[in-house]
């Protein structure tokens, strides 16, 4: 799936090393619930499980064909039409400012257009203000707050739950699509 010079492609074996480097970086790890240093063995086992899925749910986010981030979907329940999502940009070097729009746009577009999701939700640490603002901008609504929910760096952090419905995305989409036409 493409949006101008940005795209998302299913993860392949060749992406594993770079993805692990990003995932284990302090910048990314500090914002994840699972924040131990992931071994390559663990990472490969994860990939082998995901590779078996009939529908791709884990992607590299690309700028002009070069992987620069990750988009993923979990907790997918087709019967209820729900799914959770996550994303990060691992390599900001030389990326245009529109890349923030692009990764969020593609994440939503794939969920609602290809996965036929009815409701997409996301859990974000409350201290991760930038991602919360990005989600708000694209139409996510706050649905809940899990107070003192996750132990991180010796203290219990709040966890914000947000969600967007397919109809909400249909209304918001045109505002952002113009940047990639």
């Amino acid at each position: 799936m493409n949006a101008g010079t940005y795209s998302m492609s299913p993860i392949r074996e060749e992406h594993l090393e770079q993805l692990l480097e990003w995932r284990n970086s302090e910048t990314i790890r500090s914002k994840m619930i699972t924040d131990h240093l992931i071994t390559m063995e663990e990472h490969r086992n994860w990939f082998k499980q995901k590779e078996k899925q009939a529908t791709p749910l884990h992607f590299v986010f690309e700028y002009k064909g070069k992987p620069v981030g990750y988009i993923g979907y979990t907790d997918r329940d087709p019967a209820s039409g729900i799914c959770s999502s996550g994303l990060y940009i691992g390599d900001h070097e030389g990326l245009p400012p529109t890349s923030g729009f692009a990764i969020e746009f593609l994440m939503l577009e794939y969920a609602f257009e290809r996965l036929d999701v009815r409701k997409l939700w996301a859990g974000v640490f409350s201290f991760n203000r930038k991602v919360i603002q990005l989600h708000e901008l694209f139409g996510f609504q706050h649905e809940g707050l899990l107070k003192a929910h996750v132990l991180k760096n010796g203290q219990y952090e709040d966890f914000t739950l947000m969600a967007i419905f397919s109809g909400d995305w249909a209304e918001k989409r045109s505002r952002f699509y113009r940047y990639f036409k």
Binding site: Q133, L134, Y179
Partner: protein, 75 residues
């Protein structure tokens, strides 16, 4: 316009207004990366009731540049 824009920058990037000077540049501080840039753009568009061209979204690489761009839209 300049003070209004300064306030927008400070609120969107969650930095003190004193740090918002012409030399403040995109991707030179953790608070202003491609993720937060989008919130900044949206706040500018909503506050000044303008729709920025993609080229201007990309070119808005500093507070000084932002002033020039927003002025172009008659704000």
């Amino acid at each position: 316009m300049e003070q209004k824009l300064r306030t927008i920058f400070a609120e969107s990037l969650e930095i003190p207004e004193e740090r918002v000077k012409d030399e403040l540049e995109y991707n030179t501080l953790p608070e202003w990366d491609s993720i937060s840039h989008m919130s900044l753009i949206a706040a500018i568009e909503d506050s000044f009731d303008i729709m920025l061209d993609t080229e201007d979204v990309i070119d808005m690489s500093s507070f000084g540049k932002a002033k020039e761009i927003v002025a172009k839209y008659g704000a």
